[in-house]
Amino acid sequence: MEPGAGEGSSTDDYESLISTTDAELLKRAWRNEKAAPEILKFEAALVQRSRQQIQLMEETVEEFTRNGVDPLTVSLYQMDLDRTLFLLRSYLRTRLQKIEKYVLHIQKTAELWNRLSKQEQKFAIRCVGDLTQHLEQSVLTKLPDQYQSHLKQSGASENDDMVPEPKLDTYIICRSKKFLGAFQLDDSGEEPVNIEADDLYALPYKSIKPLVESGQIDLV
């Protein structure tokens, strides 16, 4: 590293460069997805790029092994590859598990539905089909006419009152990279929270939802 005055800015550059690599972005997407109670927007472009990189890395590793490059180097590449693969798999897996759990809610909420990828939507549709068939066979067809809906408790309910939904007011741990200033949590008249850079906060997910969606705050 260069000595003297340039040092401060070059570490900054390095950090900002690191934090925008796809590996880092994927890690962030994965962490957010893991911590958020509801399903977040599918990072289509990022996933596609990551998959291309994985393929590239696989080819590199293969080539190295063929050309007899130092096994240590190969194993380092392999390790990096494995980690990226794990991130990607875990990311997709976490999303699927959320879909499995809240499929009925996701399906009837257009906003959530549009957050899924094409394949995930297909998956969700089949999920709903399987689940309703199972519920109907086991319970609903054996009940009186008025009580056969899997969304409503009875014909008398106006809204769907039997759909499992994620609990949006659970507390999550979050951290912001930038100073965001005073942030009003909700309408209850409590004092606004000062969100400082790199400090950890435990806040209800519901109140910081817009910050998560706009990428200003990261979940941990």
């Binding site: 798999r89 875990s90 394949q119 519920l135 009940l143 009580y147």
Partner: protein, 224 residues
Amino acid sequence: MYGKKASELVKEFVSCEHGQLTSFNNDLFAQVIEECNGHLLHLQPLMRKIQEHENKLKDNRRSEDETAISEDESRKSEADTIFIQTAMKSDQFGALIHHLSLVRNKRCLMAYVYNRAEVIKSLGWVIDCVLPEEIEEKLSSSEKEYFKNHAATLQSYMSELDLDLTVDMIPPKDPYIKVRVLDDIGEVVLSDQVATLARNAMLFLRRTDGEQYISQGLMEELTG
């Protein structure tokens, strides 16, 4: 007491350890369903009665409006109205009780089936398509079907993506792991070598190769 059996059903699910299943309680389940239908049998005549009362009240009011009647008669019809109203109220509350009990039973039944389904879903991630016998015998026939359907749904998603999501369940520390083979598997092609997997052999192999055998219980990972 109404709703007691249904709550027993739910308690039974809660009392077993997280992520595990007890046998599907067909007996109790059928009893709760029966109770539901019993409620309906009570509910229907009550609803009919309420309807009758309402009609009668309407008739009374109409006749009051139409004919100018003497004070004596009007007092009589007023008493009549109050009498009908009280009777209707008691019927309404009766109906409400049966309705609420039915809804509660339904919720319990659904909770029982739904939560079991969640466990079954989570099994889909660790087992490929074929359930071990000791789990299978605990499921109802519809649950078995559900497992099969759901596993197929999961498979089709993964094949569309061309990415197996059931491996790599824990973050990798090292690309290679040390394992002990627990059964005679014979010769297999691993991604970087061809190996003969005999019982009790110890091997150093790629994590991704080993994981499928570990999840099938054919290998165990040696740590430390």
